[in-house]
């Protein structure tokens, strides 16, 4: 009995760390451009598909850690001007991201096909005191944690991070101090897009996905962001692990369908009771 719960706990935490990285991308775009990027889930799935194709051609998906950021930076260069043009217009930018999501899904059906895909890489099973884990889950979670820590250090201590935070805090004042605000916002946006792609790649290592999974991943990311407070990075980290844990426990104890429903319940209930998120923060 204890062992079962140990397994659930371990899987939940590993899944939760992946969710947390996915939510960080959504949260950063919200923080930078004040838009909930509704094409977030589809960007993730594109990253995952890239991982799949890199695996099937090079037999090592970790080349993707170089290729995916390059491709996603190109994508960010194309998309950023559109979002920048609508800066501060909440409704229009929501609609824009929704249209993008729709284009991405349907282009994806055309390019990748509607089947479920999964990678078979590092599938050795490791036994840690009775807890069985596959190596790919451990590796992808370790990479996730490394990426999150790297982003925090970048935002907190690097010069670009200071610039970005200054612009997000008070755009006019930052412009007066001679900061190129458009460039600063692009740094933030590009970083978030690359993070999204990389988190998709890491997701593809250990879970099956199809082009239609994007919608659900987006909603999970949003559930995490709402739970942790929109724009609150640390909150989304904790909330991601909470969601991953409760999903795996719920799937074992009751039903897998209800585990899928959990994130929707979280959104509705949290918005009803405590819209600023359980860890505080702004609305």
């Amino acid at each position: 009995m204890v062992l079962i719960y140990g397994n659930l706990l371990a899987h939940g935490i590993l899944l939760g760390s992946l969710y947390a990285l996915q939510a960080v991308g959504l949260n950063m775009i919200w923080g930078v451009l004040r838009v909930v990027n509704l094409s977030h889930g589809d960007m993730l799935i594109y990253g995952a598909f890239m991982g799949y194709y890199i695996w099937s051609s090079f037999h090592n998906p970790f080349w993707g850690l170089i290729i995916v950021p390059l491709l996603f930076i190109c994508y960010a260069c194309v998309i950023f001007p559109l979002f920048f043009q609508l800066l501060g217009k909440e409704m229009e930018s929501l609609l824009l991201s929704f249209g993008l999501s729709y284009v991405l899904i349907n282009a994806g059906i055309y390019i990748f096909g509607p089947q479920f895909r999964s990678l078979h890489y590092l599938e050795q099973i490791i036994n840690i005191g009775g807890v069985y884990l596959t190596l790919n889950k451990i590796v992808s979670s370790a990479l996730t944690v490394a990426v999150i820590v790297g982003v925090f250090i970048f935002l907190k201590y690097s010069w670009y991070g200071h610039m970005l935070r200054a612009v997000v805090e008070e755009i006019n004042l930052a412009a007066m101090r001679g900061i190129n605000t458009k460039f600063a916002l692009f740094i933030g946006f590009g970083l978030a897009v690359v993070l999204t792609g990389v988190s998709g790649l890491l997701y593809s290592l250990s879970y099956a996905f199809s082009i239609f999974s994007g919608q659900q991943l987006l909603l999970k990311c949003f559930a995490i962001s709402v739970l942790g407070g929109l724009g609150n990075m640390l909150g989304s980290l904790v909330a991601g692990i909470v969601l991953g844990l409760s999903e795996s426990v719920l799937a074992y104890c009751i039903d897998t369908h209800l585990a899928e429903l959990l994130s929707f319940m979280v959104i509705i209930v949290v918005l009803l009771l405590r819209p600023e998120g359980i860890f505080g923060g702004r609305r």
Binding site: L38, F98, N106
Partner: protein, 310 residues
């Protein structure tokens, strides 16, 4: 003043003329045109309902399809229980309104972002729920009904629902309530300061919108006699409501109707030619409208008029 009345008269002649034209088309046309008119009236109802929330309240809903799906399922279930048609349809609308209450109470007090995601999440959640309760909804395999009405009757009913909604909306927006709605859209804080109960008005408008979408869903169910979770909560229907409204002009009474007519005609041509990618065009169209023609056709026409008169 006289010019105003002249303009009003022409608008009304155009509106009534369009409704009568649709009725005649259904009476006289072949089944293909009848089914086209059914879709036209249905999507006109849906996009007008979406416009009521998205255009007049300023809250963008990405899950309006859930009321359509709920209406379809509830009507089907009550018909199967042996209810007659009118109460089954009405209960579809009313249960959609109850759904709207649950979503609205939790999100209409917050800013539009939360409303957008709340509705999106609710639609996706309902899709999973509909697949989960197999003994009520038939699960993922879908729900069958024996045919109740013929295509022509269905199309006439749909057309009637649409016409009633259209006329109701025209009068509603001229009434005191309509002025309240517009005041809230323009400046919610100022409206609240004047003593308008902002939240209550928003909730009522959301109810009205959900009710008519539910009715349209019920009629769709009666027409096709089959529904499954993937169609009932299909996000592409929400996208179509959005695109049609934006194409015609968001926040206007006639915009959605013009947009629907135009869109349906274009899409009839498009999807016959490009069956695989026509949905992609939809998304691209949405992006183009948002970036370059935010007011839709109504706005473009007004700009042209200003340009011509200057």
């Amino acid at each position: 003043m006289r010019r105003f009345w002249k303009l009003m008269k022409w608008t009304w002649i155009a509106r009534v003329g369009f409704i009568v034209f649709l009725y005649l088309f259904i009476y006289l046309g072949r089944p293909y045109y009848q089914s086209f008119c059914f879709s036209l009236a249905m999507f006109a109802t849906l996009s007008m309902a979406w416009n009521l929330v998205g255009g007049f309240l300023g809250y963008v809903s990405f899950g309006h399809v859930m009321f359509w799906g709920v209406g379809a399922y509830v009507t089907a279930i009550f018909l199967k229980l042996g209810w007659s048609l009118p109460p089954a349809l009405l209960s579809g609308g009313i249960i959609s309104m109850i759904m709207a209450m649950i979503i609205g109470v939790s999100t209409l007090k917050l800013s539009g972002v939360y409303f957008a995601i709340g509705t999106l999440a609710a639609a996706e959640g309902l899709k999973i729920l509909a697949a989960y309760f197999k003994n009520i909804t038939g699960g993922g395999g879908g729900f069958y009904l024996p045919p109740v009405l013929g295509l022509q009757t269905c199309a006439l009913l749909m057309c009637t629902v649409w016409a009633v909604f259209y006329v109701l909306l025209c009068f509603l927006l001229k009434s005191k309530h309509g002025k309240l709605i517009q005041a809230i859209r323009d400046d919610a804080q100022a409206a609240a300061a004047l003593g308008i109960h902002v939240f209550q008005v928003r909730l009522r408008v959301f109810f009205l919108s959900a009710f008519f979408v539910g009715l349209a869903g019920g009629l769709y169910m009666i027409n096709t006699s089959f529904i499954n979770p993937a169609t009932a909560f299909d996000i592409s229907i929400t996208v179509r409501m959005l695109v049609m409204t934006l194409l015609g002009g968001i926040g206007t009474v006639d915009g959605p109707v013009i947009g629907t007519t135009l869109y349906m005609s274009i899409s009839e041509l498009l999807w016959a030619r490009f069956p695989e990618v026509h949905k992609m065009f939809l998304g691209a169209l949405l992006i183009i409208i948002v970036l370059f023609a935010r007011g839709g056709i109504a706005d473009v026409a007004r700009r042209l008029k200003v340009y011509a008169s200057s």
